[in-house]
Symmetry: C5
Subunit: 313 residues, 5 copies
Amino acid sequence: MIVRPKLNWFALLLVVRGSVLPRIALRLLGVTLLAVVATLIHGRVLDWKVSLNFVPFSLIGLTLAIFLSFRNSTAYARYWEARTLWGSLLNASRSLAAQALTLPQHPAQPADGTSAHDFILRLCAFAQALRHQLRGTDPAADLARFLPADEVAALLAKTPVTASATTRLLLALHQWVAGHTHAGRLPPAVVPAMLRRLDHLCDALGGCQRIGNTPIPFTYTVIIHRCVYLYCVLLPFGLVDSLGWMTPVIVCFIAYTFLALEALGAELEDPFGIEPNDLALEALAHGIEASVLSMAGELPRTPEPHPVDFVLR
Amino acid sequence: MIVRPKLNWFALLLVVRGSVLPRIALRLLGVTLLAVVATLIHGRVLDWKVSLNFVPFSLIGLTLAIFLSFRNSTAYARYWEARTLWGSLLNASRSLAAQALTLPQHPAQPADGTSAHDFILRLCAFAQALRHQLRGTDPAADLARFLPADEVAALLAKTPVTASATTRLLLALHQWVAGHTHAGRLPPAVVPAMLRRLDHLCDALGGCQRIGNTPIPFTYTVIIHRCVYLYCVLLPFGLVDSLGWMTPVIVCFIAYTFLALEALGAELEDPFGIEPNDLALEALAHGIEASVLSMAGELPRTPEPHPVDFVLR
Amino acid sequence: MIVRPKLNWFALLLVVRGSVLPRIALRLLGVTLLAVVATLIHGRVLDWKVSLNFVPFSLIGLTLAIFLSFRNSTAYARYWEARTLWGSLLNASRSLAAQALTLPQHPAQPADGTSAHDFILRLCAFAQALRHQLRGTDPAADLARFLPADEVAALLAKTPVTASATTRLLLALHQWVAGHTHAGRLPPAVVPAMLRRLDHLCDALGGCQRIGNTPIPFTYTVIIHRCVYLYCVLLPFGLVDSLGWMTPVIVCFIAYTFLALEALGAELEDPFGIEPNDLALEALAHGIEASVLSMAGELPRTPEPHPVDFVLR
Amino acid sequence: MIVRPKLNWFALLLVVRGSVLPRIALRLLGVTLLAVVATLIHGRVLDWKVSLNFVPFSLIGLTLAIFLSFRNSTAYARYWEARTLWGSLLNASRSLAAQALTLPQHPAQPADGTSAHDFILRLCAFAQALRHQLRGTDPAADLARFLPADEVAALLAKTPVTASATTRLLLALHQWVAGHTHAGRLPPAVVPAMLRRLDHLCDALGGCQRIGNTPIPFTYTVIIHRCVYLYCVLLPFGLVDSLGWMTPVIVCFIAYTFLALEALGAELEDPFGIEPNDLALEALAHGIEASVLSMAGELPRTPEPHPVDFVLR
Amino acid sequence: MIVRPKLNWFALLLVVRGSVLPRIALRLLGVTLLAVVATLIHGRVLDWKVSLNFVPFSLIGLTLAIFLSFRNSTAYARYWEARTLWGSLLNASRSLAAQALTLPQHPAQPADGTSAHDFILRLCAFAQALRHQLRGTDPAADLARFLPADEVAALLAKTPVTASATTRLLLALHQWVAGHTHAGRLPPAVVPAMLRRLDHLCDALGGCQRIGNTPIPFTYTVIIHRCVYLYCVLLPFGLVDSLGWMTPVIVCFIAYTFLALEALGAELEDPFGIEPNDLALEALAHGIEASVLSMAGELPRTPEPHPVDFVLR
């Protein structure tokens, strides 16, 4: 996530960071050079005049608009749903922490690993494990901040079966609740309230996996991509007759908006990546940890992430 | 589902797989040939000049845009809702597995078919049965991986009445919960929590059936289809006067976007099919199975599906 | 609902059934004839040239597009919400049937009308009663398939007060649950789970009534209707100068899309009617009945509806 | 709400009632007169030709379309959400009535004001009180139909504190439930089911208040209003050169669509008013009352509202 | 929030307050001056004619429309979601107040801080604390209206750990419920109903934090900003040839709509600010307090906020 710098309207015109300009710069340059060449040769290729005017671009533009607008809003919807799922992870973790701290009749038996504190540490571990799972990184170091070494090893074990650490932590959280119920410390009647919040954890996990492994149908990407480039390549020939030497300026402007829109869509579509506009999973997981540990009167155990070059990851 | 290959911007222009190009190629060729002919005869049919210019296409384009954009986003919404329903199937199965493993007081009585393990096997069978039901294939072989032969036979029996295997499995899952409650192994107070998740299974089943058997109103398909083809057939005559020999190029470009958009919409509209952009039900059902079996310390029983020609089905 | 015939792209161009063409044919013919006349008189009325070109149609088209697109997506949203409500009716009925069959401690006491079977018959009757209520038809014959004659008479009684059969059945379903609870056959703790699903029945009923008796604000219909016809009547005079004898063809094409779009919107707006694109309530109610009765090992009691002329009602 | 008259396509062109025409007639006349004047003077003001053509209107039209389309769909979304909230009020009232009639063990003790009948009367009073609260009218007369005079006085009392009658009725409904629970007539385990439906009443109340006191940001109204009028005033000067004497006709047509769209948006935005297209709160509250009283075998106590001049309020 | 003044259609054209005009006035003036200069020099810069016409603006306009429309509706969706979250805070607070007042068996034990009144005061404090947290202001003075000084100090304490006052109040509310349950005054079976509403408080808190700390991706802002200004700067050169001295008028009109739209989007995007179109958090928090305190027969303790210059904050 880009930490929005405070900029006035003028500085906002010139900012480079947080723009997709660097990524599309080369291709934009290519398109502009093509427009310069088209202007120099007056739209004639080998003595043959490319007979184009603005009409086709106006007609194609309509279809392109449908495609781009759809891609754009769909990608953002995925981004925002992912953010909302992490928000519900925070909400459920907070409720569960409060419930674990208050509902059991004889709480706090730290010896046998069933204290509210143990439960809260597993909530923190769940958020960290989900972050690493979505980004494909190794959670061992972060899990070790919250759990004893043997439990971390068990969570990440690949035998007898492979299972994600998140699934195993979900089971451990259920075991905590069931254990207290069986031990008579939690009245069965309040258990559905805790299970409902555990279901929200489970839904957040499944929702993130859904977004992560089901991209927007690939065919959309292909069609949009082709349309945008074909449009940009043909455009100079359609404008050169009426615009003359302003053609490269206008082509560069139009190509910038199309290419930038396409690049941003591709970035937002997978919100769990580490590109500038992706979600700051590290900060989000830290925020969950800080919030639930503070309820137990403890400081967060992972270091607070700080923006690097205005980008939180 | 098309497994997105890693392609740079240039390769993306040329990729054939994952495009709808093969399917519309013949018709696209037809439209382009028509445009070549129209250019050759300078838009004159039997010495009569077809007096068209770009204006009608600009006016019709507006209506067409409304139709196509609507069809497009509706088809995707159906696709995404179907995916979300399978996601909720995963979430509910995970919660139910965790609950079955932890909540009963004296769990694990494998002898009489009421162990948590039996419950989990029925969850796996439910996902497989739903997959086969939505695609109209025979579930017997896959159900036999999880259930004894006589139970499979009972699930698929057509006498005394025909019922879907999913409905019968749903009833069996309810019976498991009720049986444990009546036997005193599950406090009645926690039962609503399990029933709530069983309701989610039931909602996912009903939701998939709803999408599967209620297409977008047929009349939309008819109107859009006609507009698109009439538009493409008339287009060359409207452009030939101003574009000359560029007419076939532009007509091919515009027709490609319209035909591709229409074909993709038709594919996404029924997300349970086996076309490249449809949902990978086989992989989804396998994922559910792998996740809930791993909670019980077991390996998945169906083979893991692998993409064939970049397509997971 | 139109049962989508399997048609290739060419047959789809010519199909009449399932199109709104028959309904708008006369008006479309009228507009086309007007265009022919306008072309014959070269856009002159009583020696006075109607000075129109394409510009106004381009400007008006924008507003018209807003209106039509809004009407279109709103009508479909109503249609789809209605379908979803019937889906939730199916889901809730299935869950309730499974719960009634499994949860009571000493089930099946057919003598006193409180068996699970009685409950399931009332669920079937509820779906049938809702269908008849939404279409304003007489439910007596269909209710008699499930309930004894005196109960049907009581459901439809107009004294001492008029009440809908659905409301009375809802009350009867609540009484079944409460009766079992008071008799000690159902632990009070599981009752909220059943009441939650009864609430879903109640929400589906209320939701259908909402859609049925609250149309899209009438003023939208009036404005759109006027715009479309005024547009179609003026259009030939705006095109005749530049298109000549192609004017009637183009006007017919454009008018077809506008009139068809408007007619389809009007049809979808009230999804409970019996027009071809409306919901197949008869088939939906039959599906609910077949599904819940099959759980009790019974065959459906209403005959299975078959498409007449490709239309299910 | 306008009760849709049955009109064929021709009558729909001429209907005045249910159109916003009367409200915008004067301004529309003004714009048309301006267009006539502009045509008479051939677009020259004091010998200075106003040099306009259609281009600016085409460019501005785009922005205006964004604004109007946004305003339009937002206003309708508010209208429909308000309708849905009243629908959920009906649903929750029905469920609560059925629960109150069936769940208590020894129901019907009319003497001490805790019978199910008393509960149902308070549900009716809640709907009436909400209607009056949203429209700013005096509920005393309608509340007196359901409650004894002293209770009505207490509900509307302004000392020691001012509170809305709806809030006080909500508390009374909670007290009924709690009273039965404390008296042992309602098992505590079923109470969450009733509280859940009471929460829905509470959510409907809060939702209506939210829509009622948070308009669409005022700035939108201001910008749209200005654009529309500026557009209509400049339009004749842009069209007169090419359209000549058709200018007033076209300007009147375009202005009609813009002004009507704006007026309708303003009407729908506040769905609780008493304009023709607003919600028929009186009929909705009556419907709730009729439905829940019929469950108790009683006739509704408020007179059934009938459309006046085709409008239900 | 701007308190909508009652204005007729004419006054609405002239109102300054509630418009974003003051904020964009300087830049709008700049663009208009540029247009005047461009007109004076007939679009020639240093004897070189800037060869532009309306075509590029028509093409760019399409992309710009996609961007602006997306930004516009997304910003409003954030605004309305934030409003809805505060609405759900009101709803949950009302339900919880009613539950706390009615459900405990032997309520009102004011001595030990566990009376329903204590609970309600903490609900008021929660709303105030959330308001201050979202705006980054100091809640101490407002919290002191509801809680004893030592509790306020504890809520705002930064040792041993920093925690938000809202999180700590959430925990206190859970403790109240758990305390009554452990003391036997609240049957465990009704506790899930209260915890469900506490979860809604928690969700409202988390939702507001989500909106507050996750802006619309910064890159959108950058691209839109650049497009709008480049468009406005180039526009006069594209229009001057055909519009002559009307160029500045039209440029000013078009630039006004674009700049106003962009400024309003930026304002709505962060709904918790103190700009005129932002949410009136002070009034909302006061409304929650007034409503729940009135249930306990008490007057609100914070002064009622009044609009200053037609703006509630």
